[in-house]
């Protein structure tokens, strides 16, 4: 999930361009709540104010749901990611107030946190994979191999498409930023779609909280891939409005995703009927016996 919302003006210095393109989204939710000085200096429209306020509010509500409904224990990485989003907005806002959003500290902090954001998202992915594929704490053997293929294929696909992109930009780091965002969105699309396919194939429950989080990520990643692709096609050239339009759409999708998670995580997941320990042991014994029987069958030799 990317969170940039701004059509960068053409006549800005590299630092300004990067800082504004990067930071405006994170600032505005708070600017909306009373910091009119910033709001005035950025010339914000009513739609933008609403979108930013809605995105910050929905993120905060989701964090509250995760904590109040005690989902944080089973979705610790996801809770951490949502808390990180809230904290990031607060930190960036403080920096903007003290240094301005066109300052170097602001730009450096924004981009550093963006990479931390990506790292946490991959941690969330691993957490979901473990919950979906290892509900008993043991990896399904065939699912594990398929999962390894999925990761490799997603990386190759994302790398190939990112290398093919040639966004019209004025500076090398703009190209790098656009490409790296696109790479992450394609990679996440592949991974989350892969989770859906694998969990459907192995018949794993699809209404658990972990599955709902994965569905939200999948939908966001897929649309993000198209939007980042659009950004890479149009680039950051002078007079380009595509960047801003894409940011609007992205924010609407982000808010929709937050809404989906708030509703899904507020509700209780269908409770599995837990087997008594003795019965659980019987099932594991059964599996071992099946394996032993199959070894015998594989070793047949017809005389």
């Amino acid at each position: 999930m990317r969170d940039i919302l701004f059509a960068p003006p053409a006549a800005l210095s590299p630092t300004e361009l990067t800082a504004i393109a990067a930071g405006i989204y994170d600032l505005q939710p708070l600017a909306f709540f009373g910091h009119l000085r910033l709001q005035h200096s950025m010339g914000l429209s009513g739609v933008r104010q609403f979108l930013w306020a809605a995105s910050f509010s929905s993120t905060s509500v989701l964090l509250a749901v995760l904590l109040l409904r005690r989902r944080a224990a089973s979705l610790s990485a996801f809770t951490f990611l949502i808390a990180f989003y809230v904290a990031k907005t607060l930190v960036l806002f403080s920096l903007a107030v003290h240094f301005s959003i066109r300052s170097r500290p602001y730009a450096l902090t924004y981009w550093s946190l963006s990479y931390v954001d990506d790292a946490i998202q991959f941690a969330v992915f691993y957490e979901l994979v473990k919950q979906v594929f290892c509900p008993t704490g043991v990896w399904a053997r065939d699912a594990r191999r398929a999962f390894q293929w999925l990761v490799a294929a997603s990386i190759l696909l994302a790398l190939g498409l990112a290398m093919l992109a040639s966004p019209p930009t004025a500076r090398w780091y703009e190209t790098y930023l656009l490409r790296s965002n696109f790479f992450v969105s394609v990679l996440e699309s592949g991974l989350f779609v892969g989770i859906m396919v694998l969990s459907s194939t192995v018949g794993l429950p699809w209404k658990t909280h972990a599955a709902r989080v994965a569905q939200g990520f999948g939908a966001c990643a897929l649309t993000s891939m198209v939007l980042e692709g659009t950004r890479n096609y149009f680039g950051l050239g002078p007079g380009q409005r595509a960047y801003g339009v894409v940011a609007y759409i992205e924010t609407v999708i982000y808010i929709g995703c937050m809404g989906f998670w708030i509703v899904s995580l507020w509700q209780e997941a269908p409770a599995p009927r837990e087997l008594p320990d003795a019965m659980l042991m019987q099932i594991y014994t059964l599996q071992r016996r099946v394996e032993n029987d199959l070894v015998r069958i594989r070793n047949w030799r017809r005389s």
Binding site: R141, D142, S166, G203, Y233, M279, L294
Partner: protein, 181 residues
């Protein structure tokens, strides 16, 4: 628009369309599967003579682990119903897996059994695939007994283990399942 940009747009469009199609297909499949009743799953089970399957399996290896191999290849062919019978057996494997994942809806621990059944089903697919290959090269007769008997024995074990799983979770329709498989 230069060639590289055009290629980029086309590829991104194709990847997006492909991934979306995959998501829709599997989401529908998951929905159908999660809404299917036990009776609907059971109804998909093709009729196979379980006595004959058991006889073929136990001819190769009985409960005490002894190998007999008394049945002639012609008898195995006739008891299984030739390649058609084997193909039915292959299809039934999928139903057995669904019957296990049905239990998994309430008892996630059944995952380990479902996983094992999936591996068994793949093994049977492999045996049937080898036989189809042999049929296309005219070597079906020599290969049939070996591969078909392995497939039948693996299938037989699958049915036994599905029944045991249902017994362990005290599934109410166990008797009906025993009749069917």
């Amino acid at each position: 628009m230069n060639l590289r940009s055009l290629l980029f747009v086309v590829l991104v469009g194709l990847v997006f369309a492909g991934l979306t199609a995959v998501v829709v297909r599997y989401a529908l499949r998951t929905r159908r599967s999660s809404q299917a009743t036990w009776e609907e799953i059971l109804a998909r089970l093709a009729h196979l003579d379980r006595e004959k399957i058991a006889a073929i399996a136990l001819d190769a290896i009985d409960d005490s682990g002894r190998q007999n191999f008394m049945l002639e290849p012609d008898a195995i062919w006739s008891m299984l119903g030739g390649m058609e019978g084997l193909e039915l057996l292959e299809k039934n494997c999928q139903v057995l897996i669904e019957l296990t994942t049905y239990v998994q809806r309430w008892h996630p621990e059944a995952l380990v059994v479902a996983e094992q059944l999936r591996l068994n089903a793949r093994e049977i697919e492999w045996h049937v695939g080898r036989l189809k290959g042999a049929a296309s090269t005219g070597n079906l007769q020599s290969a049939f007994a070996d591969y078909a008997q392995r497939a039948a024995a693996t299938y037989y074990l699958m049915t036994r283990h599905v029944l045991e799983l249902y017994e362990q979770v005290s599934f109410p329709e166990l008797a009906q399942l025993k009749q069917a498989i």
